[in-house]
Symmetry: C2
Subunit: 446 residues, 2 copies
């Protein structure tokens, strides 16, 4: 039969076997170290603590420790206590390759410049938020999301994006992908999607049918009578145009006439560089448009925080579907973001980043040997290429160590190729170093 | 020093403070709008007029206006000038009812005492983690989870739970529910489950078939030849017994003989009160057992952090399935938890909580007028009742304002009732206040 005893907080020692208590304890500790259950560097409890836990004399534990120090299993240093010796280096973990090799200058993703994440401001908000949070912040969270965040978002979205939001219609999600997964369950397909867009998003939908896009966004007149459309009205992804005002009205009219939903992916609406901010389409008809926003472009995709503003009659179904089993967002991060928004830090950060991105955009335009489009907003632009040149340029760019994708990468598989170019993220941290080699590639192959 | 300038007829702008003139002007206007000193709809003077009033360059004023338009505080329309935006004060949020009414003393969930969440230690870890984090911590996260957390968990789980873990086999998830959703896709059903357990977990699996349980855990001899079994070996939920050592070996043998997986739900393995700590079943066969752990009991369910330790040949399928679209866990929280574990704070917190829960468990045993079982571990116990009494006691308890469930609530729908009693969370924050009324109900109706 085995006999065990607790060890410090969470370790168990097998004190079974023959011999006196001291030798059984010594053996058990030694076995634990040898088998790496006690890892090198692990700090052991004081002999007093362990003695109390085991219900034995402190001298017994101290003697076992002394013996293991003598044998080299443990080290004892004044001030740092008794630790497992650094004898065996554990094997290096088999770490996975990142999708883009480290040596690539990655311009392929429309990511913010994460080297400028506002660490200090975020920590300040975290401290304020956790200090004043009610106890229930640490209980299972409301499936709809923390009310503090929903209140802060409602104010912000109304002000900055023209969204008709109140906290009762906001649902916190883990990001746009999470929102689309939920909506795909609630809305039967197929979904009308822009003929150029994120394949990653299309793949989350049961079935999609492409609608052509031009410099003024999606061509609403070609939208079929389907139950829903996924659009990027503020800044078409990836072409970059804002949806033309007349088409905005037409899109809402389409939804009313066909009794359909518009899912508005407002992924980077904050980053607008020119005179005319484009509000959210949702403001035109909050009962037909589901607004999808995210902190992934404005702050960091590592936060995993997004939000939906849903029509009244979708609130209950969305919350019920998300329910207990899809509570993915940390309540502490939600509270931190709420403070970050309501303290004005979010505005300041967006303002700083906007000015930074605008500079970079201007650098790109100044340096590019080919025409650049999609420039009024966002973190990426399109470097236009003549028909037929795109594959060669993408290959040459990759050979030069630049992680880029062509427009074809974003094309719906059922849509004919209409536009040609490179989609380049000037928001990416690598942009400043990548600009010169990119322009060389374009000059040579574009 | 304050500097004032007239604005329209009777308005004043405070241009004191730090920063350049443009940012002071922007800030001052923003504050005036936020505080409603400048009402929605108010028309601002033209930038030329205000520039003359202030004695500054017109560009400075125009830039401030642009900024505030971009932030949504102002609107600029050709022909109607610049105005304060029509922000709607958000209505008081329509808050959803919590599932248990506020006035109930809730003992129904096996939740930790969230009033004791280690706010200070957590913030300390957050500060350390965010200060030293590499920039890529703010980029999209590895689908497997941050390596810092996986390294910390590997050491901890080996030491505290006897898990044979290395960071390359650990996958960070949002919690046990997320892990089960992933496994349900990879493993065809039906799943053998314990006849008493969490209905919430059963519902995540495509099909389940119940296996009887007794005081020594699941009766392995009744496990059918199915592709997988979901078990709670350390502390059967909700009955509370640890799986008998012989049955532990038999469960692994079952998996080998039927080429099946065991999913080990180790939800509260840290909280063991008696002499016999029970290590993870996974230690017996890491190629057959998928280990599922969570911070929900040890810290807080609001963190949404859990982990799987998966057999080698499941690592790639799990990571591929989770992939880009189910990256739910905040990288910042992952880094914070990694620091919290490796700095020893996690051990200290668990030790403090264990001692607190042990006291409460002893209070429950001392006060209960009916037999109490499932006491060796965890945050809940079973107050045993004679056959037939359970429904009346549950009703009486609820009438007395106590949120409790009977064992029948946890019974698999295809299993015959075998045990009767109340499942009571002594970890719940309400426990100290609920104990006396609970005992009165039991004395009267039990």
């Amino acid at each position: 039969m085995e006999s065990w005893a607790t060890f410090g907080s969470d370790f168990y020692l097998d004190l079974s076997g023959t011999g006196g208590l001291r030798s059984r304890l010594t053996r058990s500790l030694r076995d634990a170290i040898r088998s790496a259950r006690l890892a090198p560097g692990t700090r052991l409890p004081s002999s007093r603590t362990l003695a109390v836990d085991l219900g034995v004399a402190r001298n017994t534990v101290a003697a076992a420790y002394d013996e293991l120090v003598a044998e080299g299993w443990l080290t004892a240093r004044r001030g740092s206590g008794t630790r497992v010796a650094q004898r065996v280096t554990p094997p290096a973990p088999a770490l996975r390759q990142a999708t883009v090799a480290q040596s690539m200058l990655d311009l392929s993703v429309s990511t913010p410049d994460i080297t400028l994440f506002p660490r200090t401001g975020w920590l300040r908000s975290a401290r304020r938020a956790l200090t004043v949070a009610p106890h229930d912040a640490f209980a299972p969270c409301d499936a709809q999301g923390r009310v503090e965040l929903r209140v802060a978002l409602a104010e912000y979205l109304a002000r900055a994006r023209g969204v008709r939001a109140d906290p009762g219609r906001i649902v916190v999600v883990s990001g746009t992908a999470h929102a689309l997964r939920l909506l795909n369950v609630l809305v039967p397909g197929p979904f009308a999607v822009e003929s150029y867009g994120l394949g990653f998003h299309r793949d989350l939908l049961s079935a999609t049918t492409p609608v052509p896009v031009d410099d003024h966004g999606v061509r609403v007149e070609y939208m079929p009578a389907v139950p829903a459309a996924l659009l990027t009205p503020a800044h078409q992804f990836p072409l970059g145009g804002p949806l033309h005002p007349r088409r905005r009205a037409d899109a809402v009219e389409w939804a009313r006439a066909t009794d359909a939903w518009v899912l508005e992916d407002d992924y980077d609406g904050e980053f607008r560089y020119d005179r005319d901010p484009v509000g959210a389409l949702q403001g035109l008809d909050p009962e037909r448009v589901v607004y999808l926003g995210t902190a992934s472009k404005s702050l960091s995709p590592a936060l995993r925080l997004g939000w939906m503003v849903v029509p009244d009659r979708l609130v209950d179904p969305v919350v019920a579907l998300k329910g207990e089993s899809e509570q993915y967002s940390s309540a502490l991060d939600q509270l931190t973001l709420a403070d970050f928004i309501s303290s004005g830090e979010y505005d300041s950060h967006v303002r700083r980043m906007r000015s930074r991105y605008r500079q970079r955009r201007d650098q790109l335009v100044a340096a590019s040997p080919v025409p650049v489009s999609g420039l009024a907003a966002g973190l990426h632009a399109v470097l236009e290429l003549p028909a037929g040149r795109e594959p060669a340029v993408v290959r040459a760019a990759r050979a030069a160590g630049l992680g880029v994708s062509g427009l074809d990468h974003y094309r719906h598989p059922d849509a004919a190729p209409e536009r040609h170019g490179l989609v380049v993220s000037f928001g990416a941290p690598a942009f400043p170093r990548a600009l010169a080699p990119l322009c060389r590639v374009l000059a040579e192959h574009g």
